[in-house]
């Protein structure tokens, strides 16, 4: 859905909220011994470490791995398995899928016929109206989950409505939101999407509370930070759900958490989500398919299986910076869901890394050369 063809260098604002990537990256130069001794022609001409790093990045890099969706190995080429598989396909597309569409349609009819009257008729009784709207949103999300035959196991204490708390979760697809919303009506912060999703966002999600952001706008971050703060202060607002990765990752890795959720002065309740790929891979590769296609893929699979863990609420420890706090929570979520951490900013999907990292390498090289020049 996003135009992946347009890359621009990230604004320097984004640099401030990342810890030093060099600390995580196993770069050859860092492991190599600091070269000593008098500078010779050999040392200047030998660019092999730098070239090895570049070639290493071409051959495999931890960032692209986060967005790789492995297609399942085919298993059905066999005299008895193949007919069974064909039968399964027919069953899924001709019986199960229409049934699901029917269930979803019924759900929408019930929802809209309750939501619209309640929204307009109870205009004066805000508390009651919001409470009913919340239940209705939870209900339509349950219908959605049913339409993919979602098998969701929730672990841990259910979220309670308390002021000054935010929920953070790892992000695999937009259905993460639906899976969590069917249990608790969260307010959410999302990228504004075009099309029917955008319509849903501006009408129904508005009722549970929604904050929009626009990735491509530089000034947007300050506006969003302010909106976040305003939301968590409000006593009547629904608990806020934030996906600090900022983008969908393939549920094997986590990319770095943005610190916005962690500097609001609230308790942060981590939620870990892990999908079981047994029937379908729930990762929404926004570069490869639109959300509609993704939903259709889910609706024509047997089931979507996942586990949701509500983890212990965390607060900022004394002396901890918001970035460290974010990393600590990421660690908790990654450990629980069995995900590997990578030191990349998810937004690098849409923009180039800042020149700061290349400059640091250049600085190291220059200093090393100049130092060795002095040695006799």
């Amino acid at each position: 859905m996003n135009s992946s063809g347009v890359l621009k260098s990230s604004s320097s604002e984004l640099d401030l909220d990342r810890p030093n990537i060099e600390d995580y990256l196993p770069s050859g130069a860092a492991i190599q011994q600091e070269p000593r001794g008098k500078l010779r022609l050999h040392d200047l001409l030998d660019i092999s470490p730098t070239l090895s790093e570049a070639a290493g990045a071409i051959v495999d890099d931890s960032f692209t791995r986060c967005f790789k969706s492995n297609p399942p190995e085919p298993w059905n080429w066999n005299i008895y398995l193949f007919p069974l598989w064909c039968f399964g396909v027919l069953l899924r597309y001709l019986i199960v899928f229409p049934t699901r569409v029917l269930v979803l349609t019924i759900g929408w009819i019930i929802f809209l016929s309750s939501f619209i009257p309640v929204h307009f008729l109870l205009k004066g009784h805000d508390r009651l109206r919001r409470s009913i709207e919340r239940s209705l949103v939870e209900m339509i999300c349950s219908f959605f989950v049913a339409s993919w035959t979602g098998v969701v196991r929730y672990h841990g204490p259910r979220p309670s409505r308390r002021p000054k708390q935010v929920f953070v979760a790892n992000h695999t697809s937009m259905i993460d939101f639906i899976v969590l919303e069917q249990m608790t009506a969260f307010a959410v912060i999302m990228q504004k999407h075009p099309g029917w999703v955008g319509l849903l966002q501006s009408t129904i999600l508005e009722s549970v509370g929604c904050i929009w952001f626009n990735r491509s706008e530089a000034k947007d971050r300050e506006i969003v930070a302010r909106k976040l703060r305003e939301h968590v202060q409000g006593a009547d607002n629904n608990p806020l759900l934030i996906f600090p990765e900022g983008t969908c990752v393939n549920n094997h890795y986590t990319v770095m958490f943005k610190k916005g959720a962690f500097e609001l002065g609230c308790t942060v309740c981590p939620v870990a989500i892990k999908y079981n790929k047994i029937f379908v891979d729930a990762f929404w590769n926004s570069r490869k398919q639109s959300f509609t296609k993704h939903l259709l893929q889910l609706m024509t699979s047997w089931a979507v299986v996942c586990d949701v863990w509500y983890l212990e609420p965390q607060s900022l420890k004394p002396g901890e910076t918001p970035i460290e706090f974010a990393e600590r929570v990421r660690d908790i979520i990654s450990t629980r869901a069995g995900l590997k951490k990578v030191p990349w900013d998810g937004y690098l999907k849409y923009s180039r890394p800042s020149p700061k990292h290349r400059e640091r390498k250049q600085q190291n090289f220059a200093e090393s050369v100049l130092r060795r020049l002095e040695e006799k």
Partner: protein, 175 residues
């Protein structure tokens, strides 16, 4: 892309292996093909500059632009041949030859003082002045017995870099 290994036949793999002088094993070639397909987003048969530049780790490298010129638009066979210089099985001569090609950007078979200065500029950025770079290079060249107006050939490179061996290996992660 679909299951990548089913798109490469045994003949294809052997052809690619031949082209890179057997410096990669067949399994490594399959993995490189998966990687190639992953980077080549619309199955054009080659990887464009933009697609290489979507690898953050690559962009961060000071020599990325030079390498990009050498690897941009290559088909899979040539892509593997290019990377074969980084195989653990490749000899010092081949590795030094690649280094020489990186320096010799105008492909005239000789590396001038200016060519080396250009690479030094990529490596040191704004942390060394042009004068400093000239001074350093002039000094080490003199000590090695070359003058500023000298052109270095591949043989010179082998003489300077070859005797202590060049460590330039990249491992292909085989799942």
């Amino acid at each position: 892309m679909g299951s990548a290994s089913s798109m490469l036949t045994q003949y294809d793999i052997e052809e690619v292996q031949e082209h890179c002088n057997h410096l990669f094993s067949q399994q490594e070639i399959v993995c490189l093909y998966e990687r190639f397909c992953q980077l080549d987003r619309n199955a054009k048969g080659f990887i464009s500059s933009d697609e290489f530049l979507s690898i953050p780790e690559f962009v961060m490298n000071p020599l990325s632009q030079r390498l990009l010129k050498m690897v941009d638009g290559l088909n899979f066979k040539d892509f593997v041949a290019f990377l074969s210089a980084f195989s653990t099985k490749a000899g010092t001569h081949q590795k030094v030859e690649l280094i020489f090609k990186v320096y010799d950007s105008d492909r005239n078979g000789k590396v001038s003082f200016k060519d080396i200065l250009e690479v030094l500029k990529d490596l040191s950025g704004s942390y060394m002045s042009d004068d400093q770079r000239e001074e350093v290079l002039g000094q080490v060249l003199k000590e090695a017995g070359y003058s500023k107006d000298c052109y270095l050939t591949l043989d010179d490179f082998i003489k300077v870099l070859g005797h202590s061996g060049v460590k330039m290996d990249v491992e292909v992660p085989v799942d």
